[in-house]
Amino acid sequence: MKRTRARQLPYTVLGIGFLAIMLFPVYWMVNTSLQSGPAAVNATFFPLHPNFSAYQQAISEQLGNMGTSLAVAGGTVIFSLVVATPAAYALAKFRLRWVSLVMLALLISQMIPGIVIANALYTAYNDLGLLNSIPGLVLADGTTSIPFAILILRAFMESIPPSLIEAARVDGAGHWRAFWSIVIPVSRNSIITAGLFSFLFAWSDFVFAVTLTTASTVRPVTLGIYSYLTANIQSWAPVMATAALASVPAVIFLVFAQRYIAAGALGGAIK
């Protein structure tokens, strides 16, 4: 046992090396964000004298935008789950005539570039007054999260034993009652996975943010970063601080909800 351990050690070292290269940009983002001030043009390799003034600036400039992102992402989670969960159940368990057609539509929907949807939605939103609005962005962001959520949830719900649902139905529960009291509690984990990814997709959305908002009233944080990038950048520390703050949900989910994220990454890796 001990010998195999010793023989495996080079792999661990090599693995850490690979990961260090892959995650270097993330390190560099955090490192730069901690080095603001006049000497910040050439950031040093380690934040030997860390200061948080870049974060102060980022928060003062981007707090409202982050609030917008949070509202859009939260709204998208609720909207996506409300639409996707019953649909996933129907696709998994009911024998309806058009099931395969709906599945085909879902697969094709994931191939449609966001810019195509944005192109058409812009004109429709203009007429409906949905430009520069949080509901408008929530509805648009659903185009990424709803197909994903349906596919993830359906894959799980297929494995629910029919006897479980039958038992409730025999007791006289209708489809919705059985869905609510049996299917949802049993599917808790996959619902969490679908919800977390819906949040991340909406939080990271750029295509709809840049096309469906025209004023500064509703501005997700991704657009805040983009406007830094299109301007002439004087100091990178606040830009990196904003990027780091925008990365917080991803890091939190990866650390504290790793098994849900891993399940989603394998079950429906789309982005």
Partner: protein, 319 residues
């Protein structure tokens, strides 16, 4: 979406066969109740996928500009938008860029992703944790990653040039994003970085599905190392490989965030793709007609790959 999600396409779900005949009574009412589960999703798909696709086709045959928003007039122009787009000197540039961007990204992501998947297949201390952390670049907002890379690749003070100069690997600072000759390569490299976790994760999942007995049997026949990969791993991984590659192509074709964040399509259109050009036409120049025409061309290219994808899936099921 993976192969597993598609396997039931076109065949009735297994579970639904167990529906007891008792529920067949009052069939129509039951059917209506069942459809209420699907109605919101179907409505949404119709409004947010069906409508945009149709609208996009209609717009591409119209002279649809900012004026349209005030007057409500969008005169029919037939194929004029397509002719303008295809005749423009930019079209061949964007087409070539889209091709190079896609092919370069896919090859890089796939080869490195495969190497990492094979590497992580041998379980060693910490391998699980390292594999989980590898997902991070994939979960970050793309625009945040673009910002970091723009800083790393900065010609004067970016860390990459600083390091290369310090190690005397380059005589002068490389204009990663500001030279038309280098910018596309840089954008491809960043996109490879972004795609590695996706490729590695899916391929690792595929590798896990290959039974160990196959390797044991192969090693008895003297197939180890490269031979084992050639005769055991690759044939068994083929369905997953095709899914990963086709999905990779479709997702790469529509990339917008990374290019807009890093270069904005420049310098001198060196990184302009069909997707960024469609954005530029519609949302910078407000020429929605030509923007729609370009995105329809993009859809057709994506659709070709989608058909390939669905066919490969079918075959994967048949096997």
């Amino acid at each position: 979406m993976t192969a597993a999600d598609v396997t039931t396409l076109g065949e009735p779900s297994l579970a639904s066969r167990n529906e007891s005949p008792r529920h067949r009574r009052g069939l129509s009412l039951d059917r209506v109740a069942q459809w209420t589960f699907l109605a919101p999703a179907v409505t949404y798909i119709g409004l947010f996928f069906g409508y945009p696709i149709v609208k996009n086709v209609v717009m591409s045959f119209q002279d649809y500009t900012t004026r349209t928003f005030f007057t409500g007039e969008a005169p029919w122009v037939g194929f004029a938008n397509y002719v303008t787009v295809i005749r423009s000197s930019l079209f061949s540039t964007t087409l070539i860029n889209t091709g190079l961007f896609t092919v370069g990204s896919i090859i890089g992501q796939f080869v490195i992703g495969m190497a990492l998947a094979l590497f992580f297949k041998r379980r060693f201390p910490l391998s699980g944790v390292l594999r989980a952390l590898l997902l991070l670049p994939w979960l970050l907002p793309l625009i945040a990653s673009s910002a970091v890379w723009k800083w790393i690749l900065d010609q004067d003070s970016g860390i990459l040039n600083q390091t290369l100069l310090f190690l005397h690997l380059t005589p002068t600072a490389i204009p990663w994003l500001s030279s038309p000759n280098v910018a596309l390569v840089s954008v491809v490299l960043v996109n490879i970085w972004l795609g590695i976790p996706f490729n590695a994760t899916l391929l690792y999942g595929g590798l896990q599905g290959i039974p160990d007995e196959l390797y044991e049997a192969a090693s008895l026949d003297g197939a180890t190392g490269w031979k084992a990969f050639r005769y055991v791993t690759w044939p068994n991984l083929r369905p997953v490989v095709s899914v990963v590659l086709v999905l990779g192509v479709v997702y790469t074709l529509k990339v917008l965030d990374i290019i807009l964040g890093l270069t904005g399509g420049g310098p001198a259109n060196a990184t302009q793709t069909l997707a960024t050009n469609s954005y530029q036409q519609s949302f910078v120049l407000f020429s929605f007609g030509t923007g729609a025409a370009i995105s329809n061309i993009l859809i057709i290219i994506s659709l070709v790959f989608t058909v390939v994808y669905l066919r490969l899936n079918r075959r994967a099921i048949d096997e």
